[in-house]
Amino acid sequence: EAGVVQSPRYKIIEKKQPVAFWCNPISGHNTLYWYRQNLGQGPELLIRYENEEAVDDSQLPKDRFSAERLKGVDSTLKIQPAELGDSAVYLCASSADRAGEQFFGPGTRLTVL
């Protein structure tokens, strides 16, 4: 069975440019997470979806970040405009409903120049 798929794996952009990350969770997983991980730190939750509904987006910088999960499957995380401080690894994870285990994708490493 395929795991969580993310693309692209790497992205280099200049500041003020937009960028989007895509995530395809494990089939049947209703819960989807987006995390940001800075170097040497643990993953920081940005947003959590239960099906199509964003149930926790308290840590999402809403002035420049947006996310969507249409049809409760794939999800896209967007940053517009990107800032230097947005350079990080963006991780997507999914889990089955009411289960504790999260399955993570390989992440997208974003570099903002």
């Binding site: 969580v4 995390y35 643990g42 994870a93 009411r98 289960a99 504790g100 999260q102 399955f103 993570f104």
Partner: protein, 110 residues
């Protein structure tokens, strides 16, 4: 959400048993304890989860004392490939709501 505290780093040698302790003094009655492992350039991977006493799987054991204010992840006979960052998370099982801390960076030496 319960806050967790772990050592920043630990060193060990191949073949030794490694114990990583996590403190979670304000753990709630409904909270479970979960440990993840993360290798460089990869996402975290689930290791083990427990509520009380002891849980063991093919990879590790998790020891939780009666007051549940701490927990210890035990890795038997570590190898070089166990070099990774280990995260302790505390949260309600049915809520999928847990937070990662900074983790413990384990380095296994030959």
């Amino acid at each position: 959400l319960a806050k967790t505290t772990q050592p920043i780093s630990m060193d060990s040698y191949e073949g030794q048993e490694v114990n990583i302790t996590c403190s979670h003094n304000n753990i709630a009655t409904n909270d479970y304890i979960t440990w993840y492992q993360q290798f460089p350039s990869q996402g975290p991977r689930f290791i083990i989860q427990g509520y009380k006493t002891k849980v063991t799987n093919e990879v590790a054991s998790l020891f939780i004392p009666a007051d549940r204010k701490s927990s210890t992840l035990s890795l038997p006979r570590v190898s070089l490939s166990d070099t990774a960052v280990y995260y302790c998370l505390v949260g309600r099982y049915n809520n999928n709501d847990m937070r990662f801390g900074a983790g413990t960076r384990l380095t296994v030496k030959p």
